[in-house]
Amino acid sequence: MTTMTMAAALNAALGDALAEDGDVLLIGEDIGTLGGVFRITDGLKDRFGAERVIDSPLAESGILGTCVGMAYHGLRPVAEIQFDGFVFPAVDQIVTQVSRLHYRTGGRVRMPLTLRIPVGGGIGAVEHHSESPEAYFAHTPGLRVVTVADPQDAYSTMRAAIACDDPVILLEPKRRYWGTGEMDTSLTADLDSARVLREGRDATLVAYGPLVVTALEAAVAAEDDGIDLEVIDLRSLSPLDRDTVAASVRRTGRLVVTHEAPGSVSLASEVITAAVEDCFAHLEAAPERVTGYDVPYPPAALEEHHLPGIDRILDAVDRTLGRRSSREAA
């Protein structure tokens, strides 16, 4: 076990997958010689060659469409989309091809491809570099959508995604790339499970990806007010592990869901609906969502107001507990 950044853990996972399976290859813009704009693929072209770490033309639909053909022929491509906002030119191939080929061919064709997308804001970037597109993909049957939150989770989930015979969209929270943590290459992860990161009795706080760290910080801050928060990292956005959320809500009676994406028609909507369906009688208060506002991602100078932070999360927790919140201010 060693301590490393999430970026290094992702790099190690890709390197180990390439080394262990000759059918794995990487493809994307600038991932080879440059090592990726976030250096996640740093050094891999030197180790494995230009045929397995492929610098592609600047064409996102092209990247995904060729991955479909590669998967058709038994390879396990790992594609990188450089930034969240650039995935949209590839949405046709993802939604009409990648997600459906297994279903439409009655299970004959498998699409064991992994699509890596650095997502989310908080890094002071320009337009189209801070989006949270997860709900588009979670809405599409036939895709697995997973997020990672720390170096260990990043390594283990990446390995599981590449090994999976389903198409997996792996969302990497770019503002957490440089956060450090312990990492053990022998630990494994599945792609279906949420994890309870912190047990608590007063309310359940659900987060994923970039906001897992924020949620844990909020839980620490809540202790000062005598509030004991349970924190769940969803990890898998599709399929959703609603059982873990329901089990927690049955204990705490209260639910707050937080993410960066706009809240309308969102993962928060889905998690709350699932909780209402699964454990309505155990809810002591209306669930709350703390999300990005329903606006296009704003200019960097405003993003701290747009992104959920500790205070907005605790404000919502207060509401679920019937305590004074900003919405009751004089």
Binding site: L25, A50, E51, I54, S56, P57, A59, S61, G62, L64, G65, T66, C67, V68, G69, M70, A71, Y72, H73, G74, L75, P77, P89, D92, Q93, T96, Q97, R100, H102, Y103, R104, T105, G106, G107, R108, V109, R110, P141, G142, R144, C164, D165, D166, D192, P239, L240, D241, R242, D243
Partner: protein
């Protein structure tokens, strides 16, 4: 993977002024310096078999249209007029080459041994795709225009990575050349020197829009901008299409990178059985193309050669009738799949939420059963 082909090979573009043709409309054989070296094996027997193949897929196509008119199929995209393009290509390639096609290539499917049930299932609505792509080395029909061209390139890149000799074929129409995916496919194929054949059947119309809305120059001129050599052939001349396909496949297999063929042809019928072509094209145009019928052309050529054409026509009729009967029987054999199969194969393993929905579906269906009925 990134080797550069020699300059002269890369520059090959032919047929732009006039599509390459070796069989004239009156059946006379004309020399062509590009295609003639690939026509050495053409004898009366080969001509007869090409004619029979075209006759069979015309019969299949006619019968499918009739089945749609009888309400047996939801829709059908007729291929009448494009028999030479499809048989010319289909007969030129070994079965190990993998085809990625659109929805009008039922002639190619027939060449690949796709059975009548498999061919009709998607149009009868009993399956989203009717056959096993790996059993026939042919992906199932693609509806999104041009999407399959990228799949062909990816497959070709994988074949190269696996050091295989096979090539991938991307079939698409003239409308598809306006799509980003087709242009991205050419960029990827050229950059990675992928063993892929781009085969464009220019049938003059994208539903109602003439090819001039898609391209201001001959389509075969476009691949030059990607560094991909191209041939433009008379798509109603089965010998020209077959020879051009053989030439392209030979070069691609020799490591010369991708190649592009434009088969200039004409869709004699509607885009699909839902369509009314009288709204966008006139009788004079149709008559011009009737004179270019790919089957009649081979018949006239065989007549010039002194072959027994009456016997050939009888044979074509017999085989066509067999194919029609096969389709009629297939339609009645196609049943709706079990309702619960709705939930099958979304992912390779069933996730909890789908298992729950399957159980809810089962319970709801059971609740509709009359009281006292056995479950």
């Amino acid at each position: 993977m990134l080797t550069t082909p020699s300059a002269p090979e890369r520059d090959l573009v032919a047929g732009l002024a006039q599509p390459l043709r070796v069989l004239a409309e009156d059946g006379t054989r004309h020399p062509d310096p590009t295609l003639d070296p690939l026509l050495d094996d053409v004898d009366e027997e080969l001509l007869r078999s090409l004619h029979l193949d075209m006759a069979v897929i015309r019969a299949l196509d006619d019968e499918a249209v009739a089945l749609q008119r009888q309400g047996e199929l939801g829709l059908w995209p007729p291929l009448r007029g494009q028999e030479a393009a499809q048989i010319g290509l289909g007969r030129a390639l070994p079965e190990t080459d993998f085809l990625f096609t659109s929805y009008r290539e039922n002639g190619l499917a027939w060449c690949r041994g796709v059975g009548p049930e498999e061919m009709l299932a998607v149009w009868r609505g009993t399956a989203l795709s009717g056959w096993d792509p790996f059993a026939h080395h042919m992906a199932t029909p693609q509806v999104i225009i041009g999407a399959q061209t990228l799949h062909a390139v990816g497959w070709a890149m994988a074949a190269r990575a696996k050091r295989e000799d096979a090539l991938a074929v991307a079939c698409f129409g003239d409308g598809a050349v306006s799509q980003g995916d087709v242009n991205e496919a050419m960029a990827f194929a050229a950059s990675f020197h992928a063993p892929v054949l781009f085969f464009c059947q220019n049938n003059q119309y994208a539903i109602s829009e003439p090819v001039t809305v898609q391209a201001a120059v001959p389509i075969a001129q476009r691949p030059a901008g990607f560094g991909i050599p191209a041939l433009r052939v008379d798509g109603n001349d089965v010998l020209a299409v077959r020879a051009a396909s053989l030439l392209a496949a030979r070069r691609i297999r020799a490591g010369e990178g991708p190649m592009f063929l434009e088969a200039v042809t004409y869709r004699m019928g509607p885009h699909t059985t839902s369509d009314d072509p009288t709204r966008y094209r006139d009788e004079a145009e149709l008559e011009r193309w009737r004179r270019r019928c790919p089957l009649a052309r081979v018949e006239r050529h065989l007549e010039h050669l002194g072959a027994d054409v009456e016997q050939l026509r009888a044979e074509a009729q017999r085989r066509g009738d067999e194919a029609r009967t096969g389709l009629q029987e297939a339609v009645t054999a196609l049943a709706a799949p079990a309702p619960e199969s709705l939930f099958d194969n979304v992912l390779t393993t069933e996730p909890a939420h789908l298992r729950r929905q399957r159980e809810q579906f089962r319970a709801f269906t059971a609740s509709l059963a009359p009281e006292g009925a056995a479950s």
